[in-house]
């Protein structure tokens, strides 16, 4: 187990290093931050001085090495745009993204499982068919279109919900939360739906398929034969056995919700790390881009690592194979 863990951690670090290397080699093509940092009356000397000061005249692998050296000490540099430490800015913006991801994840899970069960049990009803048809929209419509559509219906036409921002935020010192005010909660609704719709339809279709499969199995038929009530069969016996793959998929999707909040955050001017990243690309704010990409890859690598370790713990065959392999 220990050897397995060490090897997995080692592989994860390698993945991170490669990600960083690729990211830094791409930054050259993103553009030049100098023009955004200097006004139109700058001289050639100003350009060269700033380039030298920021280390932009060095090849990318030198820039990457410098970044790694500093990052190892917990220092991600200063944002070109704001001049403030990148770590500080990320920490400031992270609560907005995490709260949004949490709410939309929760919504996707509850809505997805509920609708999945419903469409599995009433598989030929008119309502189920229309839900299934609508879910196609959720899978196929691009996120920004859903966002803009929701804004026009609920903010512009009906005026019920805000079109942008986070509403009133309560500062707890280490965390800013929108959960404690009415306007904060209202501001969450549209972006959460936009971000969670795809995941919700995905989970719904998954639950439905799994459920239909389980409902066909022998033990469900026997349960029916025993005269158990439908409710007990559906929820106590069938649903439980459906949830294993659902939980796996949901765990993996959580990472993508955070990573792909970028578009939703841009449409709703949601002040999270995704919006920060988009702004950083526009401004060619390399330290912010680098830190964000590293943060996201750490997150994905971390989730995968945990999943791997869980499999190892759960599935005895993995262990058997390993000791068997050693014997030869």
């Amino acid at each position: 187990m220990l050897a397995f863990t060490i090897r997995r951690v080692g592989q994860s670090i390698l993945v991170l290093l490669v990600t960083g290397f690729v990211a830094f080699s791409m930054f050259t093509y993103v553009g030049d931050p100098i023009d955004n940092m200097l006004g139109q009356e700058r001289t050639q000397a100003d350009i060269e001085r700033l380039r030298d000061q920021l280390g932009l005249d060095q090849p990318f692998f030198v820039q990457y090495w410098n970044f790694l050296k500093e990052a190892a000490q917990g220092n991600f540099g200063l944002s070109y745009r704001q001049g403030r430490p990148v770590g500080e800015i990320l920490v400031e913006r992270l609560p907005a993204t995490l709260e949004l991801a949490f709410v939309s994840g929760l919504m996707a899970l509850i809505g997805g499982i509920g609708l999945g069960i419903f469409t599995a049990i009433r598989k030929s009803g008119a309502l189920s068919s229309s839900i299934m048809a609508l879910s196609l929209i959720g899978v196929s419509l691009p996120t920004f279109l859903i966002g803009v559509l929701l804004i026009y219906i609920f903010a512009v036409e009906l005026g019920w919900l805000p079109s942008f921002g986070r509403g009133q935020v309560v500062d707890l010192g280490f965390w800013t939360t929108g959960f404690l005010t009415v306007s904060g909660l209202k501001a969450l609704i549209l972006p959460a739906i936009t971000l969670g719709l795809y995941q919700m339809t995905l989970i719904m279709r998954l639950v439905r398929t799994e459920m239909l499969e389980v409902l066909r199995t022998d033990y469900i038929r026997f349960a029916r034969a025993r005269g158990l009530r439908e409710r007990a069969i559906n929820f106590r016996h069938a649903l439980k056995n459906t949830l294993v793959p659902v939980i796996t998929v949901t765990g993996l999707q959580l990472g993508s919700i955070i990573a792909f909040a970028i578009i939703t955050e841009t449409v709703f001017q949601w002040p999270g790390v995704g919006l920060l990243f988009i702004n950083a690309i526009q401004f060619v704010d390399i330290p912010v881009m680098a830190a964000y990409l590293m943060m996201i890859s750490v997150m994905f690598v971390g989730i995968n690592l945990i999943v791997d370790l869980l499999y190892f713990a759960i599935d005895p065959r993995l262990r058997v194979d390993r000791s068997a392999a050693k014997g030869h």
Binding site: T43, Q82, R84, A155, S163, F164, T266, V267, F268, I278
Partner: protein, 516 residues
């Protein structure tokens, strides 16, 4: 604690009657609150509400007294003497004196300050007494007072106490997030990229100020979101309104479209210092021939571009500055007429009867509908036999490419910082050196213009100065150094219940806002 509730409470105690909140959104958040760290419109426009200069611009861009009450030339053009306003205090209560002006000069002109170019001709700044400042220049500079409207004055004591003696450009300093100006509003909350709150400064010396008691600024990047926020009444003003949404804002209830003309002229430039073209097989560089450049000027159908792509919002331009700028040449009101046959004749005279192919470089996210304008141009040039290969790229890659000469023809927009015709001549037309001609990517060089430019800069007599500017404008048009297309429109959206003023430099002044 709830931030906005607290501010509302604190505010209710101070001003019991009629609280008027005004919320506005713009595409760009000021990157810093330091008035000397970034010479850009978003920063200087926003800080103009908080800090003040010796002079300021009124609603129609005229220069009027601000922290200085009067000014006069010293001797025979040795410089300018400013008499300062007495009884002015900074937001923290300290007095404004000549020492602050001298300090702000040293700060704004220091190495690394982005505003240093404003003081390129200044030799020294002295304070004979507490309320007089003398600014000496190398050569007579008739437009100096006009050129420093955005030079904002900072309190020397405050800056020294907080270690902000020099502008913080690459590393945030105290003045990046904190302010202490003399202006009509003070910053009460600053969250970079999220929201900035302004409240009236009770000790302000001036009178021309509307009734806003709390101004909340939010950057909204996505223009569709900004329009939605305006239509749903969540903000009272947005800028800019995208051209394609202009009609919608105009038609919607409770909001209106404010249409104006920006100081920015959109034009085409040419590569003139390269021996061969990048995007073609032609021998030599046809763009070195003025007739070829004139042919382009005749081939581009500007009225059609304005009608279809700019939807009637922009005005054609004949010079490098718009008609409202100082030094505009009244003798040249019209741009070369759209005349494809004349263009073909000119090309034939120059030895290219069958045209040639070349690389047209354009930004796709810098100016209003820039890429569409370039696409339309490609089609128009094709009609006279010119084969333009369009490469439209994001602005963050655009300037580096232009600096590396990766173009044969390119699109450029220029807004004269001084609102004077001398500005584009200095940066776009003068032969390139370290200090001037820094945006002359095409490498144009004309001895007569280089000879006239310093004279324009130091000529005190208005008529003589204008005569020289007229001559330069004529040369620029005859030589077709640039092909000016149009003056970019300025489109703001505002709620019907607010009065506000749109200024040509796209600056937004909160003190001209009245909420009804």
């Amino acid at each position: 604690m709830i931030r906005s509730t607290l501010t509302v409470l604190a505010f209710a105690a101070a001003v019991p009657a009629s609280a008027e909140t005004f919320r506005w959104a713009s595409q760009t958040d000021p990157s810093t609150l330091d008035p000397h760290a970034n010479n850009s419109t978003p920063v200087l426009s926003f800080l103009g509400n908080v800090y003040e200069g010796l002079v300021r611009r009124d609603r129609v861009m005229g220069i009027e007294p601000a922290l200085a009450t009067a000014w006069e030339p010293i001797g025979d053009g040795e410089g300018w003497r400013f008499s300062l306003r007495e009884g002015v205090t900074f937001h923290d209560g300290s007095d404004f004196t000549a020492e602050d002006v001298v300090f702000s000069y040293e700060r704004a002109a220091s190495e690394g300050a982005d505003t240093a170019s404003w003081f390129a001709g200044v030799t020294d700044v002295t304070a004979p007494d507490d309320y007089t400042v003398e600014i000496r220049t190398k050569a007579p500079n008739p437009i100096f007072p006009d050129s420093i409207a955005n030079w904002l004055i900072m309190d020397s004591g405050w800056a020294e106490a907080n270690g902000a003696e020099r502008p913080a450009t690459t590393e945030a300093g105290y003045a990046t997030l904190n302010t202490n100006g003399t202006g009509p509003y003070r910053v009460t909350d600053r969250q970079p990229g999220l929201r900035t709150v302004l409240e009236p400064f009770d000790g302000w010396w001036g009178e021309d100020r509307g009734n806003v008691t709390e101004g909340i600024f939010t950057p909204i990047d996505n223009s569709a979101t900004a329009v939605a926020a305006l239509l749903s009444g969540e903000v009272e003003m947005i800028e800019p309104v995208p051209v394609q949404d202009a009609d919608r804002v105009e038609a919607a209830a409770n909001v209106r479209l404010i249409r104006g003309v920006e100081a920015r002229v959109i034009m085409y430039g040419f590569s003139m210092d390269k021996d061969t073209l990048i995007g073609g097989e032609t021998d030599g560089n046809p763009f070195q021939d003025a007739r070829v450049r004139q042919a382009v000027a005749h081939a581009v159908n500007v009225p059609a571009i304005l009608q279809t792509i700019m939807r009637g919002s922009a005005e054609p331009a004949s010079q490098l500055v718009g008609s409202a700028m100082r030094g505009y040449s009244d003798a040249l009101p019209d741009r070369p007429a759209y005349d494809p046959e004349r263009a073909q004749e000119l090309l034939a005279e120059a030895g290219y009867p069958d045209g040639f192919s070349f690389l047209l470089k354009c930004p796709n996210d810098r100016y209003i509908n820039d890429e569409s304008v370039c696409q339309a141009t490609v089609a128009m040039l094709a009609q006279v036999g010119l084969d333009a290969q369009l490469d439209a790229i994001p602005v963050r890659n655009y300037w580096p490419e232009l600096r590396e000469d990766q173009f044969d023809m390119y699109l450029l927009g220029w807004s004269p910082g001084t609102f004077d015709a001398e500005h584009p001549i200095r940066f776009l037309v003068a032969t390139q050196t370290d200090r001037i001609g820094t945006w002359n990517f095409g490498g144009y060089s004309n001895d007569r213009i280089d000879e006239l430019l310093p004279q324009v800069q130091s000529e005190i007599d208005e008529d003589a100065r204008q005569a020289m500017l007229d001559e330069i404008a004529q040369i620029v048009q005859d030589d077709a150094v640039y092909v000016p297309l149009y003056v970019q429109p300025l489109l703001w959206g505002a709620a019907d219940n607010v009065d506000l003023t749109q200024r040509e430099d796209n600056f937004f002044n909160l003190r001209w806002v009245t909420v009804n």
